[in-house]
């Protein structure tokens, strides 16, 4: 009999069995032919494990035990669903390998696989064993060759799922396309600035069948600036931020390659590279890597690459959770063939316990006798260290220290500065920011900071709150007062705002007023009163579209004003 014939017979038997079960309901009745004569049910019985195969209908289940297991109509059955109390019942109809069980609760439907037991008298089991001949037993199977899975108590009884590797998946595309329009116009000397940007980010997974990724990010920028004295600038520039191909660096391949133009993966602090980067994850989760290539200048078109760099890094992690990670890297650059920068970068991440975190990055430059302003030796060029604590109730605290100096470079990284500024200029800032909910709808925010540079020192403070569901459902009100003592000015101000989330739309209106005093303006009235009114509206549409519009108006003394309009449209795919 081929498989089709077997299947047809199986279906026929099932139908017959179903018909019998229905015909004999409701009372238990002795089954005809295949069932042996009933044995007495008195005496001890032994529970045989059963499982529900299917439901014939409400209140009648089919179990995987039958006449070959010495089950007879009338035997007591207890089924144990995953949830709920045990379900008693009794055998209604018996086939060779299956039996129909009528549940005491005739409204019940149990899922396939529900376990249980059927009570079979010991005497009947012994009688069946005596009748059985060795020839009727199953043929001994070959020894099992597959080893047990690494199962531990408490783990679900799931077989391992074979994960498809990146190269086995079809190519897929994700990314976004966006447009930014921004215009500022001011009555102060008739200044204006218009900026337009059309940009695209694309990521193509497995484009060539080897599991790699193709990345593209590019922007077309147009800017027209008109400020006095006659300083009209207009440009339209196309810039490629990223055009690279990467491979590996996933759980299947510890080694990662990327080449083209890209922001360095292992140590982003080293910047954008036109070149190649290699990285490898070690068996303990730590990683190391190196990169080589040209560094495009960070200007509007990133077209010039006069700087060559060679860099390497090592990242150590305490364990696979990466709650403690320490990274160190070194970058050597040459500008137009001349030795330029020796940069060391160190990074630390500590998550000592739930709610705590410490993150820090330091940039240290090594200077030699060729560096006129700095002299020889190491100097801490930049540092950002932040310690945070979060509490369950929604309270948080952040302590941040930042340090900044100008590195002495041949490469054009920032506004030109004097040798004196290179040698002495610095800025340190320490800030403490926190927030805590005062009630379910009210959040209090505060921030205090202090700065110190080579000439002066000062600070700032802000106290504000946010109120949810203000006036209407989804409305959010906010207000803050602040004071700042800057290097050139000092002042106080206040902000109030209201916004509302309406489904996929949101809008906000904010107003700010501040009185700023120019500290060194000693020949007249040095206070500047400024008002700022702004509004934003945004909507997230179906199919990944986002749109937001903004407008702002600034008013100063002497009827001077500035207007600002912006539009942002984005399509995610």
């Amino acid at each position: 009999m081929n498989w089709r014939g077997g299947a047809a017979c199986g279906v026929l038997l099932l139908l017959l069995g179903t018909g019998r079960a229905r015909a004999q309901e409701p009372g238990p009745a002795p089954s005809p032919a295949p069932v042996p004569a009933p044995s007495p049910r008195s005496g001890p019985s032994e529970p045989l494990a059963v499982r529900v195969l299917s439901m014939l209908r409400q209140g009648v289940a089919v179990i995987d035990r039958g006449a070959r297991d010495a089950v007879l109509p009338g035997d007591a059955v207890v089924l144990q669903p995953r949830s709920g109390a045990p379900v008693p019942g009794s055998v209604l109809e018996v086939q060779e390998r299956t039996a129909a069980v009528r549940l005491d609760d005739r409204r019940l439907e149990l899922p396939a696989g529900t376990p249980g037991t059927v009570a079979v008298p010991v005497a009947r089991l012994a009688e069946r064993a005596a009748r059985a001949t060795p020839a009727q037993g199953p043929a001994p199977h070959a020894p099992w060759v597959r080893q047990d899975d690494d199962w531990q108590p408490g783990m679900p009884l799931l077989s391992a799922v074979e994960i498809r590797r990146p190269e086995q998946r079809p190519p897929s595309v994700s990314g976004r396309m966006y447009f930014i329009g921004d215009g500022i116009s001011s009555t102060l000397d008739d200044r204006s600035d218009v900026f337009l940007r059309l940009g695209t980010d694309l990521h193509v997974d497995n484009p060539f069948g080897d599991g790699g990724q193709l990345h593209y990010s590019g922007e077309l920028n147009h800017r027209a600036t008109d400020v006095p004295p006659p300083d009209e600038r207009a440009f339209g520039k196309y810039r490629i931020n990223r055009l690279s191909y990467s491979h590996g660096g996933n759980r299947f391949e510890p080694e990662r390659w990327e080449f083209g133009r890209f922001l360095q993966h292992g140590m982003p602090e080293f910047g954008v590279l036109d070149g190649v980067e290699w990285g490898r994850r070690l068996h303990d989760g730590s990683s190391l890597g190196a990169s080589f290539g040209l560094m495009p200048e960070p200007d509007v078109d990133m077209a010039d690459s006069d700087d060559l760099q060679l860099a390497g890094y090592y990242r150590w992690v305490s364990d696979e959770s990466e709650r403690l990670a320490v990274s160190g890297g070194y970058q050597k650059t040459w500008h137009e063939g001349e030795s330029d920068r020796d940069l060391f970068v160190g990074k630390l991440q500590v998550l000592p316990a739930d709610g705590w975190s410490l993150q820090g990055t330091v940039w240290i430059d090594l200077y030699t006798s060729d560096d006129d302003a700095k002299g020889s030796g190491l100097e801490l060029t930049q540092a950002i260290v932040r310690a945070s604590r979060r509490w369950d109730g929604g309270t948080g605290l952040d302590l941040t220290w930042s340090h900044l100096r100008f590195p002495e470079l041949l490469r054009g990284e920032f506004q030109p500065v004097t040798l004196a500024e290179l040698a002495d200029a610095r800025n340190d800032r320490l800030a403490l920011a926190g927030y805590t909910p005062l009630s379910e709808d009210l959040l209090l925010r505060a921030e205090v900071g202090a700065w110190d540079d080579e000439d002066d020192s000062g600070g700032d403070a802000e106290l504000g709150f946010e109120l949810e569901d203000l006036f209407v459902e989804g409305g959010q009100g906010r207000a803050a007062v602040y004071g700042v003592d800057g290097r050139f000015s000092e002042g106080v101000g206040a902000r109030v705002g209201f916004g509302r989330q309406l489904g996929r739309q949101h809008w906000d209106v904010d107003y700010e007023v501040s009185e700023q005093h120019e500290k060194d303006f000693d020949v007249g009235f040095a206070d500047v009163l400024q008002h700022w009114l702004r509004a934003r509206w945004g909507i997230s549409l179906e199919h990944g579209w986002d749109l937001s519009l903004g407008a702002g108006l600034r008013l100063w003394d002497q009827d001077e004003r500035s207007t600002h309009l912006s539009v942002y449209a984005q399509k995610r795919f």
Binding site: S172, V173, I184, L202, Y216, I240, F414, T418, D460, F573
Partner: protein, 250 residues
């Protein structure tokens, strides 16, 4: 106290932006691309624009919200999934997720999905790169490239909106610095003071007036500031409303 360098030294220290420097520190000099290079760029741009438009119009990669389809195969290990497969799968077809499948990310993981994260495909975060819980310990940088090269810290949402990534708080945040934006500074495009802002680089930025206003200084002729040695401390006579609105000491 702020130092007062010798005025005679200052003009040489502040050549016009883009001009050559004589003190070993190089200023940026944009190079004009040749015609062939310009055409190559335009063609590259047009090709990539066409590719992007094609992707957008075809809605490539935009699957259902949970973003899995059969051809991807099982991407995630199921070792620590709930034992009840029917929470996600149809009973008779492992390749189809239930139409009403929803995953309350905040309730199940303690991590709410804010802004565009709520509509993102699961695979953008849960993929082969690293376990998502490890990526989470890295903060935004666990999934997003830090185009600011680490120089602005790790609190991206201090400036960026999570729906569109649009920056919106930079001007306000200047009130927490030594350079609050007063007058026209608050209505000036960022790149005028932060030339690297076009590519996400904002620091370091000098704060002395003449660092940005060297051209203004050089253009003065009534009176000639350079000739008079008035090359520093502009804020003693000028308010940040207009260079022309000057108060002179009677």
């Amino acid at each position: 106290m702020r130092s007062d360098p010798t005025p005679a030294e200052r003009p040489e220290d502040f050549p016009p932006p883009g001009g050559p420097r004589t003190d070993g520190v190089r200023a940026r000099t944009p190079a004009a691309p040749g015609p062939r290079r310009a055409w190559r760029r335009r063609l590259t741009w047009l090709a990539l624009l066409a590719l992007t438009a094609a992707c957008v119009s075809q809605n490539l990669g935009r699957g259902p919200r949970h973003g899995w389809w059969e051809a991807l195969g099982p991407v995630l290990p199921h070792d620590d999934f709930p034992a009840d497969c029917k929470l996600c799968h149809l009973g008779e077809d492992w390749s189809s997720l239930r139409a009403d499948f929803r995953f309350d990310h905040a309730a199940e993981t303690g991590v709410p999905l804010l802004g565009a994260h709520d509509e993102a495909r699961c695979l953008l975060c849960h993929n082969d790169r690293m376990p998502a819980r490890v990526a989470q310990t890295l903060g935004c940088q666990g999934c997003h490239e830090d185009v600011h090269t680490g120089q602005l810290g790790t609190q991206c949402d201090r400036c960026h909106d999570q729906q569109t990534w649009e920056p919106f708080r930079q001007v306000q945040d200047h009130d927490h610095s030594r350079f609050p934006l007063v007058g026209i500074h608050a209505a000036t495009a960022c790149y005028r003071c932060h030339p690297g802002a076009e590519v996400g680089e904002f620091v370091p930025t000098p704060v002395a007036c003449v660092n940005c206003h060297a051209a203004d200084l050089a253009a003065t002729d009534n009176p000639d500031h350079v000739a008079l040695g008035w090359v520093d401390r502009c804020d003693r006579c000028h308010l940040p409303l207009s260079w022309n609105a000057v108060e002179l000491d009677p």
